[in-house]
Amino acid sequence: MKALRSRSRLFAMLPLLPLSGCDALKLGVMNHAGPIAASQWHLYVIVGIVLVFVAGPVLLLTPLIAWHYRLSNKQSAFRPKWDFSWTLEGFIWIPPTGIVIGLGFLLWHYTHTLDPYRPIASDQPALEVQAVGLDWKWLFIYPDQRIATVNQLFIPVDRPVHISLTSGTVMQALLIPRLAGQIYAMAGMTTQLNLAASRSGVYRGENTQFNGDGFQNEKFNVTALPSDDFDRWVAAVRASSHPLDATAYAGLFRQSSPPQPIVFSSVPQRLFQNILAKSKEPR
C-alpha cells in the first residue's frame, strides 16, 4: 500500500520534476540551518552570479557564430586568412584575468573566515564534541558531559560546537550539509570542525569517504535543541545507566552499523586520546 502510494505520488510528481528537485535540495546547503552553512551558501550565490557572466558569452557566442557563418549562408563574410586581432586578444585575456584576480581576493577572504578550524565568535563557550569515525558508524564523545552517543549528535541551538575528529579505522569524512562540512577524520591524527545551528531541527550527517561494505549506512541525525532541552537531554542520558564499558568499547570496533542510535551514560577518561594512541600501535 505504501509502495503504491509512493508510486502514484511519483507519477504525479513527474511533470513537476524541477520542483521536486527543489525538494531534494532542501537536504543541502540551500536550506542552511547554521551560520557557517549560511555563509557558504552566500558565497555560492556570489560566485555563481559572477560565473554566469563568464560562461554566458561562450554559451551564446558558440551557437550564434557557428550558425551565422555556416557554409550555406552566402551573406556572411568570409575572411579565410584573418587570424589575429589585438583588440580581441585583449578582450579574451584581460577581463578573465581581472575576474580571476577579483575572485582570488574573495577566495582568500572566505577561505580564512570559513576555515573549519576557526572558532565561531560567540559570547558562549563552544560545546566540545569528539567524533570518532568507525566501521560503519560515528562515535560522538561529549568530554565535558562525560557521555557519548553512536550515530546521533545532539547539539544546543545558537551555541558554537567545536568537533575534534579522528578515525578508529580507515579515513572517513564528516559532512552535515545543512550545517557545515566537511573534514577528514584520519587515524592517529586530529582534525577540527567548528559549526553551529541557528534553529532547532533534525539535520542529516554522514560519512562521505568510502570505507567498505557498510559505507552507505553510515548516516546519522544531528538534532539541534534549545539550550534547556539540550541540558535535559544530557541529564536523561546520564541517568540511563548504560556506561561505555569494555564490552561496549570492543563492540564499537566491530564492523557493523547499529540499527538504532546508542547513548552511553558515562565514558572512560581520555577515551578520545586513547583511541588516537591505539591507532598508532602496531597491529
Binding site: D83, L107, Q182, F210
Partner: protein, 695 residues
Amino acid sequence: MTTQGIWPAVLGRLDWHELPFVRAWENPTASEIIGAGAALIVIIGAVFVVALITRLGKWRYLWSEWLTSLDHKKIGIMYTVLAFVMLSRALIEAVLMRMQQAAAIDNPGFLAPDHFAQLFSTHGSIMIFFMAMPFLVGLINYVMPLQIGGRDVAFPLLNSISLWLTGGAAGLMMASLVIGEFSTGGWSSYPPYTELAFNPGVGPDYWIWAVTLGSIGSTLTGINFAVTIYKMRCPGMHLMRMPLFVWTALCTSILMIFAMPPLTVATALLALDRYLGFHFFTNDLGGNMMNYANLFWLFGHPEVYILILPAFGVYSEVVSTFSSKELYGYTSLVLATAAIALLSFTVWVHHFFTMGQNADINAAFGIATMTIGVPTGVKIYDWIWTMFRGEVRFTVPMLYSLAFMMTFVLGGFTGILLAFPPLDYLVHNTLFLVAHFHNMLIPGLLYGMLAGYHYWFPKAFGFRLNEKWGRISFGCWVIGFYLAFMPLYVLGAAGVARRTQGMFDPIFRPWLYVAGVGALILLAALGALFIQFWVSIRERDANRVFAGDPWDGRGLEWSIAAPPPEYNYACIPQVHDRDPFFDAKRNDDPYVPPASYDAIELPKSSMTGPVIGVAGAATAFGLVWHMWWLAIIGMLAIIATVIARSFARDVHRIIPADEIERTERRWLRAVAEATPIVREVEMTSANQGLAEVSE
C-alpha cells in the same frame, strides 16, 4: 583445497572460490550471477576472437603485420582498438551502477555492496588508464608523426613495448573479472583502506600491478613522443609552425614524463607495504596516508591535463578545417597550452582541501586552480574566433567540437565553484564532484577523441565513416551526458555521497531515474558507434577517399594517400609556413611527383614488444596471486628479452626505390582520375578525397 604439498606453491592463494562461477553456484544471488555473467562474456569473447582468427586463417597475418609491427600507424590503431574494448566494459559498468542506485532506494537493490564497490573501482581505473590513455596515445601515435612530416616516432621499438605494457595491464584488468576480484578502493585506491590490515584480498594487488604496468608504459610513451617532436620534424617545421595538435601532444608528453613517476612511486610504496610489511601509508608504526594523497594527486592533477590537452589539439584542427579558415590566435593557443601544462603541477592540493591543512595553503591552491581557467577560456574564445568569418560545416567532428565548447564551459563553471575551499567542503566526495569531473572529461576527452576518430578515420582506412550513424551516436552522447550528469549535480548539492550503493531517501528517486535513462542513452551512443563502424565497412567502396584529402585539409597528413603507405612520405616534405598543404593547394600543385625516388629504411617488425608485454602481465599476475615462480619467470623473461634484443643487429629493412615509385604512381594516377569536390558535397559519396580549390 589442500594446505600442504606442491599446490600452494604453484597456485599461490588461488583456489576454486576465486572463480565467479563457483561463487555464483554456491550463492546464486543476482549480484553473484551478474559477476559470473561478466566473466562468461570475457571468456566467450576471447574464445570467439580466437576462433574467428583461426577460421579466417589470419594468425600469421595478425602476428607479422600487426602485433609485432613497429609502424607508428598500426600501433596507433591497436591502441585505439584497445580503448574501444575497454570503453565498452567500463560503460556497461557505469550503467549497472546507475541501475543499482535507481533500484536501491531504501532497498538493497540487486548488487551487493562489495560488487558495487568493485564496479566503481574498475570503472574509474579503466576509464582513466585503459580507455582515455590508450585512446589519446593511439591518436597521437597515428597523427603526430604524419603532421610533422616524419616516417615514424623516434623509438619505434619502445613504442611497441609501451603498447604491450598497456595491453598487458588491460589484460590484467580483464583477468580480474574471471579470476578473483578487483579492488574496492576506487580508482585512487586511498590507503589505509587498501592496506593489508583492511583489505587482505587480491583486489588492491590487481589495482597496484595493473596501474604500475600501465604507468610505466605511459612514461615511456611520453619520452618517445617528446623526443619525436623535438628531433624528427621535417625541414622547415619550426616549433611555431607545428600544428596545434602537435603542440598539445608535446605538452601532454612532457606532463607524462613528469607526472607518471609519482604514480609509479605511490603504487610501488603501497606494494612494499602490502608485500614486505613496510609502513609508508599504514595507520600504525609511523605510516601516514597523507603522503599517498600528495603523491597520487601530484600525478592525478597533471593527468587531467594529459587527458584534456590532446582533445584541445583535435578541436583546434577540426574547427580550423571545418571553418575553412586559419586558426585564430595560434600564438595565443600555444601559450595557453604551455601555461595550462605548467599550472597543472601547481594545483594538486585541491583534491584534498578537506584534509586539515591551514587556510593559507588551501587559499593558495584554490587561486592557482582558478588561474587555469584563464588560458582555458582563451582557448575556447580562440576557437570561436576561428569560426568567425569562416564557412562552418556541421560535420560530425565539428558537432562534437561545438558540443564540447558549450558543455565544457558548464564544467568550468562548477570547477571554479569547487576551487573555492569553503564551497568544496560541502560537495567534496559527493555526486556533485562526480558530475563535475564527468562534465570535464566527457566533453574534454571523450568528445575530442571521437571527433579525432571521425576526422582522421578516412586518412587511416581510406574511406569515410557513415554520416547518419555518426550523427545518431553524437546525439546520444550529448543527450545522454546531460541526462546522466545534470541530476548528479542536484543530488550532490543535496549531500548524496559518491560511491554509495544504497540511497536513503525517496526524494532522490526522480533524479536517479533520469540519470539512469541518461546512462542507457550513453550506452546506446556506444552501440551506434559500433553500428556506424559496421555500416561504414559494408559500404566502404562507395566512400573511398584514396586521394587522401576528404576535408580540404590543412596539414601535411592530408597531402598523402589514404591510407598512407607504410613509409608515410616518399620524399620528406619541406615546410615554409603553417597549414603547408592548404597553401600548397592554393599556390601550386601539391601532387607533382619528384624527379626521382630513393630507397627508404624502416624498422623491422619485432616480437620484443609482445614478449615483454605478456611477460610483464604474467609477472603482475604472479605477484597478485603470490605465485612467486610465475613472477620470477616473467621477470627473467623480460630481462632476457631486453638483453637478447640488444644483440640484434639486423633490425632494419629497405624498401626499394622502384617499389616506392610504383606505390606513389598508383596514388598519383588515382588523384588525377578523381573529381575535385566542393565543400557542400563532402559528406556524400562524391567525395573521393580530392578538394576543389577555391581562391
